[in-house]
């Protein structure tokens, strides 16, 4: 566990002042799976922080997320990549893809989990350092080792995200 924390801290420290934006996201996670029958459910909520760094055609980022999930609580490290599809005045529309790797939080024996999320985001940028996002997406999550304990160790979700972004540097959006 302590090694995982050290790795996360080292990666985050590498970004430091070069990061352009930091965003705080809240997500509601309704989902569905096919077990014995197709079922839907409300999987809880998530809270995350992401750094974003501008690249030639989009933004790379690095984030950490804490969430409740069918097997309890989970913390994960994600690498979002955002591509802007349209920009107009104070608005833009983006697609974000975010693979993540994490730990299902079990005492003495945290279990590896990973997920892949793709989402569409609408961002509103008033004339200040803050911008606001609303997004919907599709996410697949799995914790392979949890199969030893429960019948449900993978699921699909349709996350609904509310986010606030804060611009750190002076570069344009």
């Amino acid at each position: 566990m302590k090694y995982s924390l050290a790795i996360i801290a080292i990666i985050l420290s590498g970004l430091s002042l070069r990061a352009q934006h930091v965003s705080f996201n809240l997500q509601a996670l309704p989902g569905f799976w096919h077990n014995e029958a197709l079922e839907n459910y409300y999987g809880g909520s998530a809270f995350g922080i992401q750094y974003h760094q501008k690249s030639k055609i989009g933004q790379w980022g690095l984030g950490i997320e804490y969430r409740s999930i069918d097997w309890g609580n989970q913390i994960s490290l994600n690498i979002p990549y955002t591509v802007y599809l349209a920009k107009k005045n104070n608005w833009d529309v983006a697609l974000q893809c975010a693979p993540s790797i994490g730990l299902a939080l079990f005492r003495n024996n945290p279990l590896l989990s990973w997920s892949l999320e793709s989402s569409a985001q609408l961002r509103w940028k008033p004339q200040n350092k803050f911008s606001y996002t609303l997004g919907v997406g599709l996410r697949y999550s799995i914790s392979p080792a949890y199969q030893q304990y429960g019948l449900i160790n993978q699921l699909a979700e349709t996350p609904i995200r509310l986010g606030i972004q804060y611009k750190i540097g002076k570069t344009k959006n």
Binding site: W71, G72, N73
Partner: protein, 252 residues
């Protein structure tokens, strides 16, 4: 806002996250005759010989304990007594987030007429909240290392409270103070002392000698708990024996 503030938020978040670790089950029984179904809200256990004329059991797990950790502890009620047992699931493994889930789920099983509600630790207190909010839906209550913070003293259903002598997790002071919220006390020192007649209007109190808090489930040692002088299988057998006699006395 500086990166230092972001780092601070990140660290607070990380510390908060890791204090919410759950306990995993030690082992999951693999028995052909034990049929387990699971969805986002519950784990349902039944056997090929389930008897729907017997009351079903709705069980709230302890806080931050994986619900599968109670399969082993409760399976005798399914395999030997042929009851249906349903273990609640909740976000973050905290039953308090869904305090009325058992009453809601009980309505989905029309083939069962009667339900007994119970729980371990925080789950027991949540069972009491559910029964407080839905007084006509449950035929009996059983608490494992738990107490009620709601006033159930006038509820005309049988109740049993089972604790253990080496439990250092249960707040004994709060346990004693909250006895006032349950019907009149009737203490026993052995399951065989459970009266063979209806126990409505009383709460049977039984403390298992040598048991501890964590051994009511099957998830290994719990932080802050006392050391047990008996095996978890022995503690769970005493729980099952007590519940079995309690159910029989009350025709459930």
């Amino acid at each position: 806002m500086t990166p230092r503030i972001v780092y601070s938020i990140f660290l607070v978040m990380l510390i908060g996250c890791f204090s919410n670790c759950s306990y995993l089950p030690e082992e999951i029984p693999a028995e052909e005759s034990l049929l387990i179904e699971e969805n986002a809200r519950y784990i349902r256990m039944r056997s090929t010989e389930s008897n729907n004329s017997l009351a079903g059991i709705l069980f709230y797990p302890g806080g931050l304990v994986d619900p599968h950790a109670y399969i082993e502890a409760l399976k005798a009620l399914v395999l030997e007594d042929h009851r249906t047992v349903i273990i609640m699931k909740a976000p973050s493994n905290l039953a308090i987030i869904r305090p009325n889930q058992a009453s809601s789920i009980s309505k989905e099983f029309e083939d069962l007429d009667q339900w007994i509600i119970g729980g371990h630790s925080l789950g027991g207190s949540v069972a009491c909240i559910d029964i407080f909010n839905h007084p006509d839906q449950f035929a009996a209550l059983f608490l494992l290392a738990s107490y009620s913070v709601d006033d159930l003293s006038n509820r005309d259903i049988p109740m049993i409270s089972i604790t253990s002598s080496n439990d250092l997790v249960l707040n004994q002071e709060a346990f004693e103070e909250n006895k006032i919220n349950l019907p009149e006390e009737f203490s026993i020192s052995d399951p065989s002392q459970i009266p063979m007649e209806s126990t409505r209007g009383t709460t049977i109190y039984y403390s298992i000698e040598g048991g501890n808090h964590a051994q009511f489930g099957q998830y290994g040692p719990q932080a802050g708990d006392g050391e047990a002088d008996i095996e978890s299988s022995a503690q769970q057998a005493l729980v099952i024996e007590s519940l079995r006699l309690f159910f029989q006395s009350n025709n459930l």
